[in-house]
Every structure is written in C-alpha cells, then in structure tokens.
C-alpha cells in the first residue's frame, strides 16, 4: 500500500469517525445545556410534575404521555393496514395492482410532513369535529390518524421487504402441496418474517414519536394529562417547538433540553430494540 492509499484511508476513517460521533455530539450538546437543571435536583419534579409556569411548575410528564399516547394510537391504526397492504403487495399480488400499490407507497414516503399537517387542519379536523360533536377537532385522534398515514409507508416497505426475504423454495414447497395463501402466510411467512415485522413496527413507533409537525398542527397542544382520544394533547416534540421562543435563561426554557434528551433516548432505544429483533432470526 503506497502513501497515497494510506493517506486516503486515514481521511476516510476520520470522516467515518466524525459521522459516527455526530450522534453523540447531538446528545452531548443537549446534556451540557440541560446540566444546570439536572444538577439543581429538580429533574424528578420535571419528569413527573404538572406544567404550570405561572406556579413555578415545569413538569413535562403530560408531554411525555402525550407523545406515547399519540404515537401509540397511530401505531394501532397503522399496523393492521400496513400488514394488510404488505401482504397485498407480496402474497395476494393481483396482476399489476400489487406493483402499483408498492409504487404508490414509495411515492408516499416523498410527501412532506408539513403537507400532511396542512391537509389535516383543513380536511381532517372538520371531519373529526363533526363526527365527535365536541371541541375544536384538534385532538389526539386527529393527530394519530394523520400520523398513521405518515408511518404507514415506512412500515409497509419494511414489512414487504422482510416478507420478500422468505426463501422462495419454502413458498414453492407449500404451494406444491396444496397450501392456500392464508396457510402460507400463517405457517411459513409469519414465523420467518416476524423479526422484520417487529423491527419495522419499532422503527415506525420511533418515527411517530419523533414527528413534530403533525402533532403540533393537529394535536391541540394542551398541557394537561389526556384522558380520552378526543382530548387535545401536547407531545414532547411540539413542546420543544412551542417553548423555544421563551426567555433563554428561564427554567421553562431549560426543560426543552430534558425533553430533547428524553426523545433522543426513546428513539435510540428503539433502534437498539429493532436491531435486537432482527438479530433474533
């Protein structure tokens, strides 16, 4: 290996290291800026208390619950639809229609989040308002429905990829012995593809928790603990977006770093969980 090669290798390595450490850098910045708050011993109050700046209370529990509530509900809506759609693409495969749906789903990944939020405000919110007959229509259900549309493509593409990886010879064997498509799915495809299905679901959950615009525009942003799907709620992401305008030195402002760290940890754990599920093949 000549010196040029060695220099190139070193250059590529340092770039690689930079990228690898970039994620830690993001975390580091937030920890440093959140540190005064962590040190002050108020961390527990912030993680579990109510949000009432006028009374000096800056708890973000309601936001954390809001995040999980909205993301969880969107997952409950999106999961069956995604599973059905990926089976449609990979197993039912009607001539042409399967390819068409796959293409549409890929196209959906290109639609900007803000557009989902925008259409949500002017199309979905009035619908939910008139169906529920109460409130403004800005609520957990509205946000979760739109969020479900956002995460469906992620899940469908992930599911169909792991279904497509099931060896063709196994499927041919079942077909040749007279198994129906349903039996193929139940006895061969699900047992073989479940790690992919689990990890795709976990990743989609991370995507839903991490999304800002839809929850911000459609969730109503109330700071109380939500009780029903028609209550409005604020997610951690929306909280960051809303409080960023506050005075930099205020305690209120510093809670957004805790929110950021919380989001980071949640999505990071999601990645680790998804990887663990996939290794479990």
């Amino acid at each position: 290996m000549d010196s040029g090669d060695r220099a190139a290798r070193r250059l590529f390595f340092s770039a690689g290291l930079t990228c690898a450490l970039a994620g830690l850098l993001v975390l580091g910045f937030m920890v440093v800026l959140g540190l005064p708050l962590i040190r002050s011993g108020m961390l527990w109050d912030i993680l579990t208390g109510p949000w009432s700046p006028d009374h000096g209370q800056f708890g973000i529990l309601a936001m954390a619950v809001g995040s999980v509530y909205i993301a969880g509900l969107s997952l409950i809506i999106a999961f069956p639809v995604s599973l059905g759609a990926s089976l449609f693409i990979e197993v039912v495969r009607p001539r042409g229609a399967g390819r068409l749906l796959e293409w549409l789903v890929r196209l959906m990944t290109a639609i900007p989040t803000v557009i989902y939020g925008f259409v949500g405000i002017f199309l979905l919110v009035p619908l939910v308002r008139s169906f529920s007959g109460q409130g403004s229509g800005l609520c957990i259900l509205t946000a979760a429905l739109m969020l479900a549309v956002l995460i469906c493509p992620t899940m469908i593409l992930f599911f169909s990829r792991s279904i497509a990886r099931v060896p063709r010879t196994w499927l041919d064997a079942v077909d040749a012995m007279g198994g129906t498509p349903y039996q193929k799915v139940r006895h061969i495809i699900f047992p073989a593809a479940w790690p992919g299905i689990v990890s795709g679901t976990v990743l989609a959950f991370g995507r839903a928790v991490g999304d800002t615009l839809i929850a911000l525009m459609l969730g109503g942003n109330a700071v109380t603990l939500p009780e029903s799907v028609l209550d409005s709620a604020r997610t951690l992401t929306a909280h960051i977006a809303l409080v960023i305008a506050a005075d930099f030195d205020s305690l209120e402002f510093k809670t957004i770093f805790i929110s950021g760290i919380l989001l980071y940890v949640m999505t990071g754990l999601g990645i680790l969980a998804a990887r663990a599920a996939e290794k479990n093949l």
Binding site: T169, W170, L171, V174, D175, A176, M177, G178, G179
Partner: protein
C-alpha cells in the same frame, strides 16, 4: 389398466413473458408409468412440469393456454377449468423440486405439514401416515430416531428423499419430479432410481432429467423437448 391414459393434454401453449416455450402440445400419459422429459437446458423442461399442478401461476410473466385433463376416478377433468380447486389439485399432484426444499422445522413437522394444511388433526393418523410415507421413500430406518431434529440438518440425499416422502404423505396419484437427482452423489442417485421404480407401481410419474443413461434405466416412455415441441427421440 396399465394402458389406461391418466393425463390428456390438448393444444397446450406456454409462454414466458413474450417468449413461447411450448406450442400446441398434444400428449397422453399412461397410468403406472414413468414418463421422462429431456432436452437442451433453457428450453422450458421445468416450466412444462409446472403445467400439471399450475405452479406456473406463481411465476411472474408465465402464461399457459389449452387443456390439461386428468382422471382422478371421476372421468377426465380439465385442471385449467375455473371450477378446478387449486389446493385440491395440488394435493393429488405431488411435486419434488430440483433442490431439496425442506421447510424450516423438524423432520416430524415437515412430514405432518401437508396433513395439517388439509385439516387433519388426529395425531395418531398423522404419525401413521408419516411413517408409511417415510418407509415408502426408504428413509424411515435412517431417521426414525431423529424425527425431532431440524430437517435441514439431513444430508442432501436424505433431504431429497424427505421431500419425496413429504409429497407422498398425501398419496398423490401423479408425482412430478424436476431433476431430483441432480444434487445427489452416485450412491444416492442409485437409491433414488430404485425408489422411483417402486413408486410407479401405483402412480403416474413425470420426470425431468438430463441424464440419458438414467432415462434409459427407468423410463417407460421418453420424450425430448425441442423447438417448443415434445418428440420421441
């Protein structure tokens, strides 16, 4: 009885994408016989085999027209007719692939699987049928103590015989074999040929092969696929 036709093919055409592979095939296949098909590779021998259980429908771009009639005891029925139930057809027409394809489960479960699919729940019946089929496939003595092992741990020859046994468990009247010995060593090939000669005593066997000497040893009738037609050599 030996002369009674089991399968009648009339006006069969087969395309793969835009390429025609079979053209206006007419063929009768007798009961209790081994019919072998040879021919240059890439001419569609394997595709021809999938005509008998309509497995070609799984291949993107494949298309077949014409009549393939089989007699399962109620006179000839066209298997391409819309009334023909695919799962039922495929239980009567077993298939063994070029590469052994055991499912990712134990030997016992592999053998029980076809029966599970058709709704057989009685454990004793399943075990008895599996044993019969394994004995027919000359595999029982080798593996009777290993039934709970993963089927993929068997040797290549054993896997292939397991796959034959697995298709025999449904007692198919027609057995399709796609170069079943191409992945086996010499001793296993010999075993396999003996097995096929025994199996033909009560079923119709259609065998794709490219070993001429093998064909000469076991086939009752020999056909060559050449220029979209099946001809006698």
């Amino acid at each position: 009885m030996n002369d009674a036709p089991k399968i009648k093919i009339r006006g069969l055409n087969f395309w793969y994408a835009k390429r025609q592979i079979l053209e206006d095939i007419r063929l009768d296949i007798r009961y209790r016989s081994i019919t072998s098909i040879t021919g240059p590779s890439g001419q569609g021998k394997s595709s021809f085999l999938t005509v008998f259980n309509r497995l070609w429908e799984n291949i993107d771009g494949a298309r077949a027209t014409g009549r393939v009639c089989m007699d399962f005891g109620n006179g000839f029925e066209d298997i391409n007719h819309p009334d023909c139930r695919l799962p039922l057809l495929r239980r009567r027409v077993g298939m063994v692939f070029q590469m052994p394809n055991p499912l990712p489960m134990s030997i016992r479960k592999n053998m029980a699987f076809p029966l599970t699919l058709m709704g057989e729940k009685n454990g004793k019946t399943v075990a008895a049928k599996a044993e019969t089929a394994l004995r027919q496939a000359l595999l029982w003595d080798e593996i009777k103590d290993r039934l709970n092992e993963d089927a993929r741990a068997l040797s290549g020859g054993q896997q292939q015989r397991l796959c034959i046994a697995r298709s025999l468990v449904l007692e198919p009247q027609v057995l399709l074999l796609d170069e079943p010995t191409s992945s086996l060593d010499e001793a296993a090939v010999h075993e396999m040929e003996k097995l096929l000669l025994r199996l033909k005593k009560d079923r119709t066997i259609i065998l794709v092969s490219h070993y001429m000497d093998q064909v000469r040893r076991i086939a009752d009738r020999h056909l060559v696929l050449r220029d979209k037609k099946l001809v006698s050599p």
